[in-house]
Symmetry: C2
Subunit: 218 residues, 2 copies
């Protein structure tokens, strides 16, 4: 139905549209995919012609119902594969993204059904991101950005917003992973960094930058 490349564009557009209801702009897509605006314009035309997105010239694109369904199936595959790599093959959580980027394009509904079953129908991937079920339904927990958390309240890490190796390796180093308990002890006015106790250990500083990329629940 869609080529490998078209799928990557659709998934990216879907992710850029998540949350806000503004249209997704050509340059945003180009930046995400490390490609050029002219290339994006061409692809946009193709995807809108196929009715995965709607497109208003100069004003950006929106994902259609059909587009969202397909995008969610790609996201589902990506996250199930990431889960497989970590749970079954003992990958580190910072090693899985690039491989899943390829595996998400494998076409076989039976494979995904059976993989899901083999993994015990997981609802979140190794980064805490929700895995859509086979109908595209996402079980979303209420989560807060660590940066905005209340002082002295017991929190649990539930996801990361950034899947880069450097960030994930940094988190591993300071002892942060999904499910770990945190308490914010102090917010430093000057640079927005936080003093955080991880698993009730001696508080340590986490930069504002990092705190913006850690999601927690109460």
């Amino acid at each position: 139905m869609l080529s490998y490349t078209e799928e990557n564009y659709l998934k990216t557009i879907y992710h850029l549209s998540e949350g806000g209801q503004k249209s997704v702009l050509t340059n945003e897509i180009a930046a995400s995919l490390l490609t050029k605006a002219a290339t994006v314009t061409d692809m946009i035309k193709k995807l809108s012609q196929k009715e995965f997105i709607t497109y208003e010239k100069y004003y950006g694109v929106n994902v259609t119902k059909k587009g969202k369904t397909h995008a969610l199936s790609i996201v589902r595959k990506h996250r199930l594969w990431e889960t497989f790599l970590v749970e079954k093959l003992n990958f580190m959580w910072d090693e899985v993204h690039d491989v899943a980027e390829q595996l998400e394009h494998i076409q076989s509904p039976l494979l995904i059904e059976k993989l899901d079953e083999f993994l015990g129908y997981p609802t979140a991937d190794p980064h805490g991101h929700p895995i859509p079920d086979k109908h595209g339904k996402i079980k979303q927990e209420k989560q807060i950005v660590l940066k905005d958390a209340i002082i002295d309240k017991a929190l649990t890490v539930c996801a990361v917003r950034n899947g880069s190796s450097s960030f994930l390796q940094y988190l591993s180093k300071i002892g942060v992973s999904i499910g770990v308990s945190l308490i914010v002890k102090e917010r430093i006015e000057f640079d927005g960094s936080l003093e955080v106790s991880i698993q009730n250990k001696k508080p340590q500083l986490i930069s504002r930058e990092a705190a913006e990329n850690i999601l927690v629940k109460e």
Copy 2:
């Protein structure tokens, strides 16, 4: 290094060159890949330019050392994935080929290392085909085509030569799978079909066509 398409051509050329030492001809490749001779000629030029094969105009191609190494790594991936699908995800042996055809192109040496370990370093895939190790070494058992087997000798099925669903489903139906014991009771002169006892049960007829596609050992 090689595109998805180039890998498919290289693997096909490698398989066509297995056994014999004759050059592989343009039309053979075209037939295997359901493509046209003109397309094959172009691809041959590309692969020989990259030194995966040598090419003598009008006389066909041969796989180089470098080409064989790469082809074996694709075959290794294909067969490891097939093994995974059957052993871990409970696919039937006739359902795995098309998915493995896609999975064999995933690029990640780490993934294959870990998959191999997860599967316990298997030496044969669900069809009895040998899985090259990470150095490309194949552990090949001596095997006989059932058609040529000696009458009344105890045999064990070790591989199939044809991976088509229809053939594999037929085999499942008559109770033939890898490891099953067979005894050829009689060879029918007229059409070359064989009367075979499967797992010591009442002998039944197997066509010459089928007997040419079953490999056994003593």
